[in-house]
């Protein structure tokens, strides 16, 4: 049985249809890179799976159960976690408090505050600092740690490297590697194609709200992904005709 099944999902922002009839499945333990240009609908798709944005059509099933109309907090309790774009930490609260909040999900497990501190050693010294005073890398680590505290079965990461220095990105990915090795199911939105292809087992490329390309990372060339990314194959075919 698939862990996550997305079936003909439609999501709108007012008049704009951001996600159009998207379908895909995720097996337990997979790592998937979701790529695409800005505005392709990646963030909206993740938010709709997490329940932060209501779908206008289609179905999302998790562990075989229909969660399409479930509010976000209940989906977290089912095991879906999203590290949102822009991190969205509670800036006035401490790192520890940000992490403790996730206990509301009611999913005890391997991830505790101490485990997060072990996975992201740069947070140890900042445990009682207000989240608003952290560096970008520390904030991202806290945001990922906060999602992990819900002990998710599916972890979705939206643009973890956005706004971080290359050094901080390396550090975040080094920590993520532990996670990847542990067998957690992960969906990753990443602008850096090289990195995405290196980490992921499977790649889904979105273009204008639709899936333009999907396949095993090992089977795809960088060029194929780039073409899907910019919609080049489509215009190329048009020019040939």
């Amino acid at each position: 049985m698939n862990l996550l099944a997305v079936d003909a999902l439609d999501v709108r922002h007012g008049l704009l249809q951001a996600v159009r009839a998207v379908s895909f499945n995720i097996e337990r333990g997979e790592t998937i890179a979701l790529v695409g240009a800005n505005g392709a609908g990646k963030t909206t798709l993740l938010r709709a799976i997490a329940g932060a944005h209501a779908a206008t059509g289609g179905r999302v099933s998790f562990n075989g159960a229909d969660v399409t109309h479930m509010p976000a907090h209940s989906r977290v309790a089912q095991g879906i976690a999203l590290v949102p774009e822009g991190r969205r930490l509670f800036a006035k609260m401490s790192v520890e408090e940000n992490l403790m909040l996730a206990r509301a999900a009611g999913r005890p497990g391997a991830w505790t505050i101490d485990a997060v501190m072990e996975a992201f050693p740069n947070l140890k010294a900042r445990r009682n600092a207000r989240a608003g005073t952290l560096s970008g890398g520390e904030q991202q680590a806290t945001a990922i740690g906060r999602a992990l505290m819900t002990n998710p079965e599916l972890l979705m990461l939206d643009e973890v490297s956005l706004g971080l220095s290359p050094l901080a990105v390396d550090r975040v990915y080094a920590s993520l590697q532990t996670l990847l090795n542990s067998g957690t199911t992960i969906v990753l939105v990443e602008q850096d194609l090289t990195r995405a292809l290196r980490v992921a087992g499977r790649v889904i490329c979105m273009l204008e709200g639709r899936i333009a390309l999907e396949g095993k990372a090992a089977d795809l060339t960088r060029e194929q992904v780039t073409q899907a990314y910019f919609g080049l194959n489509k215009t190329g075919a048009g020019a040939a005709a």
Binding site: H73, A105, A147
Partner: protein
């Protein structure tokens, strides 16, 4: 000595203002809503206690066991039925809807209880006027002291609740970013309804304090809203300890004003509110720093 007494009485009165401001300030800091019907709800609670005492001889202190939970339930319902929908429609709609609600409450109270001015003082025996004498000129009313202590305990308790408990953290997080709390498993609707219930429970206490220490009538809600608002703003909206200082500043200013001119009580109160408000708006940094230093030294 008259002045010293006026200031002491002002500080004690400030305890009442802090108590009535507590719920308003709490609701504003958590949900970003200024509940215009706040004062009317305090009067509703006062009439509830009056009814219990007058009809069934229930002591007002005992009556709180019924009225405070009832007010909490009203707060829950208010959030679900009115505030939630209003705040989704924009920042102006909650003002309009709660103002409409205040008119409904005031006039329904008038319909059922008439225009008579009431007080709970007759139902609490000599406690309403018993006092400790500090000197010939200075007396501290026991009821005033109890109200002041209640305000301090309530504000302190809320502060602890917000910083130390899981629900308190969830309330603070929801206040900061109601969209994101859902992503970490917090039910924002439940949290907001709980916060509204807590705010309205404090309004129940404030209504009791008002009804015991003074008189009230169905239309007494509006001035209570204004006093609560002034105390909350003077203290820096959303800061609980600031609310206590705001209440004290307001109470002291009113008592000093009353000493100067018979009409000076209210004029001085509104005056100090406007002066502090504008000082903060125009010399924002310096004013806030001054108030922060006050808050720290308190």
């Amino acid at each position: 000595m008259i002045w010293v007494n006026q200031i002491i009485q002002g500080v004690l009165l400030g305890g009442y203002y802090a108590l009535i401001a507590c719920g308003l300030s709490f609701m504003f800091s958590v949900m970003g809503i200024i509940n215009i019907a706040h004062g009317s709800f305090a009067i509703l609670a006062a009439f509830g206690l009056f009814l219990l005492a007058d009809q069934w001889g229930v002591s007002p202190f005992l009556g709180l066991i019924i009225v405070v939970p009832a007010m909490a339930a009203i707060g829950w319902a208010l959030q679900r039925a009115v505030l939630e929908r209003s705040s989704r429609a924009g920042i102006l709609v909650p003002i309009l809807s709660t103002f409409g609600l205040s008119i409904v409450i005031d006039n329904l109270l008038f319909e059922f209880f008439g225009a008579d001015t009431r007080s709970l003082a007759p139902y609490i025996g000599s406690f309403s006027y018993d006092s400790w004498s500090l000197s010939d000129d200075i007396e501290i009313g026991q009821l005033s002291a109890l109200i002041f202590a209640t305000a301090v305990i309530l504000l302190g308790g809320l502060q602890l609740f917000l910083s130390r408990t899981e629900l308190g953290r969830a309330i603070r997080a929801t206040a900061e970013d109601a969209d994101t709390v859902g992503l970490i498993g917090v039910n924002a609707r439940l949290v907001n309804a709980t916060a509204a219930a807590i705010a309205m429970a404090t309004v129940g206490l404030a209504g009791a304090a008002l009804a015991m220490r003074a008189t009230f009538d169905p239309y007494a809600g509006a001035p209570q809203l204004i006093f609560a608002f002034e105390a909350a703003v003077i203290g820096g909206a959303g800061s609980l300890w600031g609310t206590l200082i705001g209440g004290i500043v307001l109470g002291v200013a009113q008592n000093i004003g009353a000493q100067i001119n018979p009409q000076g009580f209210f004029i001085a109160g509104h005056g100090i509110f406007l002066v502090i408000l504008f000082a903060r708006l125009f010399w924002g940094g310096a004013g806030a720093a001054f108030l922060n230093s006050l808050r720290r030294s308190a």
